[in-house]
Assembly symmetry: C2
Homo-oligomer: 305 residues x 2
């Protein structure tokens, strides 16, 4: 899977993904109103508004980007109706040829992780049939439970040609509380990084492994070290834009050849129309604002590579 992602990154010359993390407050009023008029002020009304919002953004950006990263929490908050729209979004992105990174940060004991892996990445057997529940291409995974909690996801990467990004150093302000604590002189995130490489060895796909790492843009000194430590691990880099990470901050996430990282932006793209910079588009042309924000982000990042 990682080789497919790399191919698409090269083709688009855009080492980025668009985070489809819609808050209802990001959705322009006319879209919300239309959905509420049809479905009422209900979970379905909210979910359908998000679907129309996503669709417009995808329609305006798909040809510029290799991948999207829907954050499943933003759909789960609307219960079943939200998850129906998550799945619809995944399927629509696939129709458009995009790689879908499900940002779910799942992780549990072995047998439970196997169920998550089957439901999100792989297939589940029902009688003599097999089905894919959510069918994303890559998934974010939490490492706190150790090898037996991650291994079932890695197995599906190998059997079904899928990919992972395991949380190593996250972008949020308090990520250091546990992740930065020193163990035998090295921060916990480096020990996690070592394990990510070990897990990844069994699912190599060209120069990189299908088992990648989440490395936040907001801690440039740490990503520099992690880049050197993990030469064959692709990084999913959150924290650019709204969370404070700049292109300069994240250039060390890339290898010399300009590969090795894919940078996510969510709010900065999908709610671009709300920014002063893109206000000429107005809420009616929010898709156009998102497209321009993608172009600007790609230029910004490529300028430091």
């Amino acid at each position: 899977m990682i080789s497919q992602l790399i191919e698409k990154i090269k083709k688009t010359n855009a080492p980025i993904c668009v985070g489809l993390d819609p808050m209802l407050s990001y959705v322009p009023e006319h879209v919300v109103k239309k959905s509420f008029d049809t479905y009422g002020e209900t979970l379905k009304g909210a979910a359908e508004a998000i679907w129309e919002f996503n669709k417009e953004i995808i329609d305006h950006t798909w040809d510029l980007i290799p991948a999207v990263k829907p954050q499943i929490a933003m759909y789960e908050q609307f219960g079943i109706e939200g998850l129906i729209v998550y799945k619809k979004t995944v399927d629509y992105c696939h129709e458009k040829g995009l790689i879908v990174i499900g940002d779910a940060k799942r992780g549990d004991i072995g047998s439970t992780s196997a169920a998550y892996a089957a439901g999100h990445l792989g297939k589940v057997q029902v009688g003599s049939n097999v089905f894919s529940g959510f069918d994303v291409d890559m998934l974010t995974v939490n490492p706190y439970l150790g090898t037996d909690g991650v291994k079932p996801f890695v197995d599906v990467c190998s059997s079904d040609d899928k990919g992972l990004f395991v949380l190593v150093k996250t972008s949020n302000p308090s990520s250091g509380e546990f992740q930065d604590r020193l163990i035998d002189g090295r921060p916990l995130y480096e020990w996690v990084a070592e394990k990510v490489m070990e897990w990844g060895e069994s699912s190599m796909d060209g120069a990189y492994s299908n088992v990648g790492a989440v490395v936040g843009a907001t801690y440039p000194e740490m990503s520099k070290i992690l880049r050197r430590l993990m030469p064959h691990t692709y990084f999913l880099v959150p924290g650019y834009g709204a969370q404070g990470g700049t292109a300069e901050d994240l250039k060390h996430c890339f290898n010399e050849d300009g590969l090795g990282a894919i940078v996510n932006s969510s709010r900065g793209i999908i709610a671009a129309y709300k920014q002063e910079k893109y206000k000429q588009f107005g809420p009616e042309q929010f898709g156009g604002a998102s497209r321009q924000a993608v172009v600007d982000m790609v230029n910004d990042i490529n300028s430091v590579l």
Copy 2:
């Protein structure tokens, strides 16, 4: 919420919860067949078989127990259809007066955790209405991202009278890979425990906090230390039975007064009919086997308290 759980534990004299973690392979053939005959060998067919299975087990055990713990992964593996049955199970358990601990192990950066907290524990605003997506009473949470990833869940505990169990020391074989590593002479899980207590201070509910901890039954020496360290923290204890933890192993999870812990059993209860010990029930009476397994588990645990 924790005071409600304690009240129900006292009333039933059963410090246990039943893990509603159905694998399709646990569901007796006649139940699966009936569902496949109606819905086909489809995701809906699988999900409905699990629903009928859950319902029978709940009907046979609800009066003996304070709580259930559905593992959401087992439902997610069947996609939307599975999650519809997860929700149906949560609602049915509520009708029966049970406290529902959603075992979801969610955790992300702040704004994303807020969405998970709203969807699983709290409420989401849609226009002038509010809705509960999944509406469980308590939720398991992963601490790897630190305070800002956990705080939104704690806030909902306080605002909506809900509860959490934060992963501290998990029951799986490789839990020690990161959790046991020493930081300034103390294992990571103790540092997490310190934070859990800190988070819990803002949501006390009687003698205990609404912010509990997951402490596996499979590491008795560690749970002994954690029990002393966290006197006001309720423990959710997985690992009893099928995972190898015995009543003797987990007695140190309890305080002197017999409170302080709730022990989960999943396979040992819901697939009891498959055990030699309960074979007189047969697959047709699998609910009866589960009931007897609950009685035996409660006696076993109470024998060491």
